[in-house]
Symmetry: C2
Subunit: 128 residues, 2 copies
């Protein structure tokens, strides 16, 4: 398989696949013409990576998960630990964003939003 076919199959841009090869997440053989040659297993790895990334796992977490995925003797506890750590990260981000949203939406609600210059949003940004 050439890179374009793998890209179509996995939904990842070819650029991203090259990048993943570059940083050692996947390996690809080479044909006589210098083109990358992918096996089905590589395509599966890339699908796995695409899904993990879509769930917000960092590249380093993906590397760990990929290693666990390929390790037949893994303990599911190790996988779960990585996932739980990431869940905590996600929750923290959601909390931070929700706090921003709450503060900001309160400011917005108090703002007339008309032609006059008086603006509680700007006042809220000035200071407490």
């Amino acid at each position: 398989m050439n890179i374009g076919e793998v890209a179509a199959q996995t939904g990842l841009p070819a650029k991203t696949i090259r990048y993943y090869e570059d940083i050692g997440l996947v390996t690809a053989g080479r044909g006589a013409n210098g083109y990358r040659v992918f096996q089905n297993t590589d395509a599966h790895k890339l699908t796995f990576l695409g899904r993990a990334r879509a769930l917000g796992f960092s590249i380093e977490h993906c590397r760990e998960l990929l290693a666990l995925w390929e390790d037949r003797g893994r303990a599911s506890a190790d996988v779960r630990a990585v996932a739980l750590g990431h869940l905590d990260d996600i929750e923290a981000k959601i909390s931070a964003l929700a706090a921003m949203r709450d503060t900001l939406s309160e400011l917005v609600q108090n703002c007339a939003g008309d032609g006059r210059p008086d603006c509680p949003i700007l006042k809220g940004l000035e200071g407490p």
Copy 2:
């Protein structure tokens, strides 16, 4: 005021203040020794910027907000529009993160998390 004092007053790192000067968000005079000299108005601007950044506004949005803040003839509607746009961004991010959290936490809940290799999390990442 030297940069250190402004940093202490605004809570922004000196590096950040220099960066903001670099990209033209604030301006600073210079003393005979080459040190930056800040006026109170600069410190207020920086406080404003720090608060806007803390609410997640991008630097470019901060630039707009700062311009509106300094424009006595502004329409509060313009401020509100910027804020509403940002609120949408925040909501979108929260939704995306919540979707990740939901998917991931379901996988985690189905995972025994023991010494055995069987792992629904990895299976979920493989494909549907």
